[in-house]
């Protein structure tokens, strides 16, 4: 059946709303000129500006926070995925559902909820004071932002690992046990290697939104807290240097595409595995 023509409307849509916008961003990042089209000039200044230590610091803070949150979600999420995958079908579906439900709640509300808990007059400090301790400064710092990231992205780590774990052929594990492997050996030689596609999907699914967020950092880090996402927001909605903002966006995009390419390299079984989250 000759059906490819019915994709043409979308191809047109894709050109207008995906390719042209990215091309525009690229053009903006490579030019200067105050709005007027006649003044536009080719330049690399927007990229050079980013090399300023202030901005490199922001980039570094974004990457290190994203790496930390990825590591924490992996350490917390892997055992959880294993525990769930060992339950019977009915129970594990219920547990996965419990994991999915908070994700259905508005992302901002979930983050806002932590304000309620961590705030200066928040619930945790209320309890601490009642117990006779000094109230702690729990909010508007790195820790609060990290917590917000871990909280929001933990399911992105657990779900792909879980969906790979339940697909592992049980007879492989039995075979290893029959051949005398202990529990630890079964894990390190069978379960863990087979779950790597899930881990890789999980890492990309946590790292990417974590490195580009500006909401978590704004709500839990406070108005002055800068991650690379906040920097882009500031350029486009605040001070208004769209050319510099575009350059940062391009840097962010290239960085993420490179990260994706590297993780894809680790993931040999790309088509079948990967947890199927995309």
């Amino acid at each position: 059946m000759k059906t490819k023509w019915i994709a043409y409307p979308y191809i047109l849509w894709m050109i207008i709303f995906i390719i042209v916008p990215l091309a525009l961003i690229l053009v903006y990042s490579l030019t200067t000129g105050e709005g007027d089209i006649r003044n536009i000039q080719f330049t690399l200044d927007n990229f050079k500006k980013f090399l300023d230590p202030i901005y490199i610091d922001v980039l570094w803070r974004s990457i290190s926070l994203a790496l930390k949150s990825t590591a924490v979600t992996l350490v917390l999420g892997y055992p959880m995925a294993m525990i769930i995958s060992k339950e019977n079908v009915k129970k594990r579906n219920a547990m996965i559902l419990l994991f999915v439900i908070p994700m259905w709640m508005n992302f901002l509300l979930r983050t806002y909820a932590w304000l309620t808990l961590l705030g200066k007059n928040g619930f945790i400090n209320y309890i601490l004071v009642k117990l006779g301790f000094e109230p702690l400064n729990l909010i508007y710092n790195d820790g609060a932002v990290l917590l917000g990231m871990v909280y929001n992205f933990l399911p992105f780590m657990v779900l792909p690992i879980y969906s790979v774990l339940i697909k592992i052929d049980k007879s492989l594990i039995e075979a290893a046990e029959d051949l005398g492997a202990g529990k630890m050996k079964v894990f390190t030689r069978i379960i863990f290697p087979l779950s790597i596609p899930g881990i890789i999907t999980g890492i990309t699914m946590v790292f990417m939104p974590a490195v580009s967020t500006f909401v978590i950092s704004r709500l839990l880090g406070g108005g002055q807290y800068m991650l690379i996402g906040n920097l882009v927001e500031q350029q486009f909605l605040g001070t208004g240097d769209w050319h510099f903002g575009s350059a940062i966006s391009i840097i962010m995009m290239v960085f993420i595409l490179i990260t994706m390419a590297i993780t894809a390299k680790f993931d040999e079984d790309k088509e079948g595995g990967g947890g199927g989250l995309w």
Binding site: T3, I11, R110, T116, G223, V232
Partner: protein
Amino acid sequence: MVNRGIKRLYTFLIFLFLYAPIIVLIVFSFNNSRSRGVWSGFTIKWYIELFKNEEILMALYYTLIIAILSSVLSTIIGTFAAIGIYGMPGISKKIVLNLNYLPVLNPDIVTAVSLMTLFRFMNLEFGFITMLLSHITFSIPYVILSVLPKLRQMNKHLAEAAMDLGATPFYALRKVVIPEIMPGIVSGALIAFTLSIDDFVISFFNKGAGVTNLSITIFSMARRGINPVINALSTLMFIGLFILLLIINSKSSNNIGERGDII
């Protein structure tokens, strides 16, 4: 035995971590004082205030309208696109699929600013239309990605058989192909709907005067400071979604856990 206890405790702590903020929000939506820490008696006044709050009601209205329109339109465009892409020869299929991945892989904020730049370039007034267009744009790739696997599973010869028996291509599409891939279309539409309802970043950059959605309203309220009306709103949304999820889950009980694609 000890091992089992540790697992139980671990599971409990993780779920406590996941649900504690939500429970606190719900409990404090019934709190009589504005303070977030101190309990000072039961009240439902925040719920009453919520339904008098123009700002929130307008945002809710726009959120729902945009979610419905964008999910319907992106499902239609995306389903046809998927069928078309499926029939494409190797190389162009690969190119289109890779471009289709771009909005999925790109950080939200890059998609958001690129669309913002486009709309300004086209001199479109920021508002309902820009928000709707951007929502359709980021939803279509997910629809395609959920319809394509169903097309691959389908028996290739079904449509050919129908046409051999005298069906026109359009009739074969309507009577054979579409019913075969229906589960993919439905899950694509659901993903598009939830993505649209939940979206903040892309809407935030492409909103216009007077047109916002719930996420944007929550964001600006949360920045202004404590407002228990948000707690009431989140409680209602949580309960609403919970009920919706129970209904969906009772209808298709094992799809969610296996594929985890309910984002």
